[in-house]
């Protein structure tokens, strides 16, 4: 982690530092930072902090980073906020870039993976699990007529077509 970075010189208005609790609170506007970006940035910190997300009111999301370190100083907590803010901006912008460049990223990713994986071998195919339900079919589109509607009763006696044990042509 970039622990060598100098701490922020002043606390921004949307940040509250509770040094005694080893926690820092940060309020962000979800119209600036999409929720996906907040999740992405928050997740990066879960090895160092307990992270809580809370909506105190409409138009605000409050993030609490409660550090796992024994006695974090105020400077360390401020640095945590700074790093979180940078990660949040990074996630928000990455989300936008990914949308804009989606086609290119998908094409390169597909080619890279397909080129490296190659076609499946016979062993790969032999291990393929065909027993799973392939897909949900609530309307029964993949079912045969007989499965869906039942078999017609044969005229004039037992035994349907193909099940006759004898008879004459």
């Amino acid at each position: 982690m970039p622990a060598r970075e100098p701490p922020m010189t002043e606390t921004p208005p949307n940040v509250t530092v509770e040094a005694s609790q080893g926690a820092v609170h940060l309020e962000v506007d979800p119209s600036i930072y999409p929720l996906e970006a907040i999740y992405g940035a928050a997740y990066v910190f879960i090895d160092r902090c307990y992270v809580f997300l809370y909506r105190p009111r409409e138009g605000a999301i409050r993030i609490t980073l409660s550090t796992k370190a024994a006695e974090p100083g105020e400077a360390a907590l401020a640095a945590l906020v700074g790093e979180f803010s940078n990660e949040l901006l990074s996630c928000a912008w990455r989300r936008q870039i990914t949308e804009e460049n989606r086609t290119l990223i998908e094409a390169v990713t597909s080619q890279a993976l397909a080129g490296a994986m190659g076609p499946p071998s016979l062993d790969d195919l032999a291990d393929f699990d065909f027993s799973d339900e392939g897909f949900e079919d609530p309307l029964g589109i993949a079912q045969s007529w007989e499965e869906k509607h039942g078999r017609k009763a044969p005229r004039g006696g037992e035994g349907g077509e193909g099940q006759s044990e004898g008879g004459t042509p």
């Binding site: 982690m1 090895d47 870039i97 990713t109 890279a112 080129g115 190659g118």
Partner: protein, 502 residues
Amino acid sequence: MSVDLRALKLDPSAPAFFRWRQVGDNVVITNFEGNFLILSEDEFRAFAEGRVEPASDLHRRLDEGNFLRATYDVDRAAERYARRKSFLNAGVNLGILVVTLRCNETCIYCHASRANMDAVHTDMTPEIAEKGVDLLLQTTSEFLTIEFQGGEPLVNFPVVKRVIEYAKAQNEKIGKRLEFTMVSNLALMDEEKLAYLMANKVQICTSIDGPEKLHNAQRKLPTMDAHQQAVRWIHRINQEYEAAGLDPTLYHVEALLTTTRDTLPLWKEVVDTYVRLGCRALFLRPIDPFGFAERTRQRVEYPRAEYLAYYRRSVDYMIELNRQGVEILERFAAIFLTKILRGEDPNFLDVRSPAGTGIGQMAINYDGTIFTCDEGRMLHEMGDDTFFLGHVDTHRYRQLVGHETVRAAVVASNLDGQPDCVNCAYSPYCGTIPATNHKTSGSIFGRMRESDVCAVHKGIQDYLFQKLATADAETRQILERWTTQRPREHFVQGPGEGPGES
């Protein structure tokens, strides 16, 4: 002077898509397919404002580089882009086998987290080695390098031999172009082992941290003569190459440098050491944040601005030596210049987009566990299994390459989705390493503006473009010569080679 964008009257209808970066008094522009031009500030203003005279030399240069919207050649761009990304179809071409973690040397920055010589439980067994070879030979790549690493691979030499013989035998049916490389400190080399390695065409690489005093202070043998041992064997191995009739300018022991804080003031001594050893290449690698380097960072780390000053001094000196007829190149410069000047990618797995993590390389640990890359394996030794993919007993090649971690790493290291990189003029030539990003910023994407790797890559390319902007004909020729890759065909083995006899 620097270009003030606010003062420009930009005309978006004239230039095709481009990125730019101020380098000294000039402006470097690059486009989607990686063409570049170095413009004066006045030329850049005229270009950005759509004021370039159609009959001018600047117009001709811009047109040739495909920088003009009116004449933009999509087919040419697609062809250049495909050529630059030809590695996408290549598959895994580097398989790292950690045949043991045991090592006879103790390095202050050991990235591999070496084990003591009595830790025999960290030796790879022949069974695991064979399964590892079977797995690697399933690669879609026609070409495969099997690299022996450690620890010190010579500690577990019987398994090295088993791998070579088994791989060659299996390859009789598969028919790949196969190469073996060993990364060794050479202290445990002897004539018998050398004869075997020569007979089986194993390329030998070692580590040299510069002059003797520095090397011995950073890489410690109980006898305190790590440098002397390495140097002795470098000369001995080079003798063998010559005796085999191989061109010594191409076939010689390659050495790797790890730059620590103590290396920085010794830039000239480092270059001189490499030249004296007969090396034709020097890789000025900065220290990585893995293994023991994490614990010793207070002693070995340094600001990257200091590294870049050291880099510039070293390469300036190497260029000067080249002018005097000494052939020595810097490896980072060669990688970037090949991309910049030749429009090709030398497929260096850590400097490409997407990175080679899992799709270009795979690392198999002594116990059969498999990782996306060597850095992923180093993180495992530090207790972080983010880049763990599977085990030779249970996983097949396609499962590993298609693993969700590999997919994530491929997406994360694609610079077209990376903040900062999308606007960076050096994007067509650059790359990022998911494992390093994960270690330094907690996410495989990283944050480029805070990344030491980004700072180094940008700084080196700034230096190279400055050189290209101001180079006289001789310097330009030297830099272009550094992009020439002469394949070492002697080390490449196809089917029918048979076991080498020592």
